[in-house]
């Protein structure tokens, strides 16, 4: 059997935090902690057998989604993947409506008709997630097409995993976005695996971003566990898109802490790889960095984390106390008036 190449994290030089506003840094950390605690709580509820459905946790990938979404404007729009809880929270979905959606409650962001695989809220610029791998890329390009035609100045950001880049829809989307110079950012969360399959088994080049050149757009591969690097790279791509420069492909190297979904222990991953990546856990790393900056103190970050815990607990209470949809809701929203 061919030996799989594993790809160990290469941590770049850490950029100084001084140039960044303290509120921005705090918000970044808060969003990452929110996602982390949300996902841990969801996992717990699942193990207790309380939560229905299937779940793909985004633990470990917080820095990529938070860095990316914080680089966007509030009215910019993202498309989400099957691993979408973190993407949704990062774009500003309330923990209440997200948790309620996972429980299939009528107070959920999709009134309980979407579930974990389809979370989203148009009012915060998160198109309800599309669970078919690759399908969202042309749709993101289409939203960008409308923004360009309507001259709204908005940008669309398309999230996808590295397992997506061998799908035809994905290629068609990148090509169209480039020939029509659409304001869209294609953002790959490369966590090395699509379910159990390592990227090197299914792609004959080393990095996803290499493909950008064949569509005539810029591409870059960055360390995705540093929210600052992601933030800066996406900011530049979004500015380029907004000013008429067209699309960009960004590949964030990251790692999921758990398996593909809750019932997958991820045993196919080499121990050496898992250990090396687990040491790069973006949340403790970012906390340690913040604490080297005199604007942050351990006690202030503790308070922030406790406040997040209270938010998550309240979201669970809200979801559990919410009503299930009336059965007639099953027949609603098939057609628009």
């Amino acid at each position: 059997m061919q030996e799989l190449s594993i790809r160990l994290p290469q941590i770049p030089d850490i950029a100084p935090l001084e140039p960044f506003d303290a509120d921005l840094l705090r918000a970044m950390y808060r969003q990452m902690v929110l996602i982390r605690q949300f996902e841990l709580k969801v996992n717990e509820l699942f193990l207790q057998g309380i939560m229905p459905g299937t779940i793909h946790l985004s633990l470990g990938q917080e820095a990529s989604v938070v860095g990316a979404c914080m680089a966007l404007e509030a009215d910019d729009v993202i498309t989400l993947t099957h691993r979408g809880h973190g993407q949704a929270l990062a774009k500003g979905l309330s923990a209440d409506s997200l948790m309620a959606e996972l429980f299939g409650k009528e107070t959920g962001c999709c009134r309980g008709k979407g579930g974990s695989l389809h979370v989203g809220d148009m009012s915060v610029g998160a198109l309800p997630a599309l669970a078919i791998v690759g399908a969202s890329s042309p749709i993101a390009a289409g939203m960008a097409f409308a923004f360009k035609r309507q001259e709204t100045g908005q940008v669309a950001l398309n999230f996808f995993g590295e397992g997506t880049v061998n799908k035809g829809d994905w290629h068609e989307a990148l090509n169209l976005a480039s020939v029509w110079k659409l304001p869209v950012v294609f953002l790959c969360e490369n966590n090395l695996y699509g379910v159990s399959t390592h990227i090197s088994e299914v792609m004959a080049i080393e990095y996803v971003a290499e493909r950008a050149s064949s569509y005539g757009m810029p591409g870059s591969t960055i360390y995705g566990n540093d929210p600052i690097i992601v933030f800066q790279t996406v900011m530049a791509a979004a500015q380029r898109a907004r000013s008429g420069g067209g699309p960009t492909l960004i590949e964030c190297l990251t790692y999921r802490r758990g398996g593909h979904k809750r019932d997958d222990p991820g045993a196919y991953r080499p121990r050496e790889e898992v250990e090396a990546w687990f040491k790069t856990d973006p949340i403790p790393a970012f906390r340690a960095r913040l604490l080297k900056d005199e604007r942050f103190s351990p006690s202030a970050l503790d308070v922030l984390e406790e406040a997040v815990t209270a938010t998550i607990d309240a979201a669970v209470d809200f979801a559990l106390a919410s009503d299930t949809p009336a059965l007639t809701a099953a027949l609603e929203f098939v057609y628009a008036d």
Binding site: G114, P128, A135, I139, G142, A146
Partner: protein, 346 residues
Amino acid sequence: MLTDRTAPAQSSNRELTIVQALREAVREEMRRDEQVFVLGEDIRIGGSFLFTLGLLDEFGPERVLNTPISEAGFVGLAIGAAVQGMRPIIDFQYGDFIFTAFDQIIQQCAKLRYMSGGQVSIPLVFQLPTGASGRGAQHANSVETIFFGIPGLKIVTPATPYDAKGLFKSAVRDNNPVLFCVHKHLYGSKGRQLAKSSISRGHVPETEYLIPLGKGDIKKRGSEITVVANGQMLHRSLNVAEALESEGLSAEVVDPRCLVPFDTELVIDSVVRTSRIVIVEEGNERGGWGAQLAAEIANRAIGYLDAPVLRVASPNVPIPFSPVLESAVIPGESRIRSAILELMDQ
């Protein structure tokens, strides 16, 4: 640039073909609403059935987009644009190529509104040449049948110029995805075969009108038997019914015009009067819309029937190329006539 030699004369009882009527409809809608735009392959020169002929000159390349051969890509793109408030019209060269965009249509387009709890709507028209036209199996699909069971899509199958224009304008204004399926033998575009019947060309008023989606139309009144048919089959059925009229048999011909929503009431009303029904469609018999209609009749009108419900459709085979085989497979006038006479004997 091609010129359109069959441009409509501006007289009050002018007769148009379907493609002429559709070209007027799309132009009127594009003038009315800035958000309407058209995209598709080679539409700069009119597209394969000349549906977009002349559009580029009037509206420019910003609103008449020549796409790569990239059906999944541009269908997805149109979905995204529609989510953000635009009203795309996709001109498919042949409806047969829609299968390469199946996921975008069935999994994304048809379901996104529902699974988002009503957060989005997708006003999007697919202009789809459908049916067999002497090109072999891969260019002969009755695409309307394939999508018939998918909730979230509307399906229109116009058969006359008047209907095509009024229905197309409604489709563009509808807030849902609409598959607008015109039989390849019905456009009447230059160089293409046109099915012959008393209504395959027809009067189209110059004043604006709309026809609501979901309302059928009785194309010929009759009292002894109901024939329900759409698309090209409507013309064949009408030819048969008109011939039988002169032989003393009074057949009513009902055109549902839309498959989704379907005007079941119109058919029930008719069958209650005639007590006999034949359902004619071009697609393969298995899984056709006629099966659903037969079930509705059995459910709601069986007590009014003097004879079993009869269906005429293509047998369950791909459509063969050889012209003799194609016309043996696709329901022709003699099969429709035999079916009617068979029922009259019962």
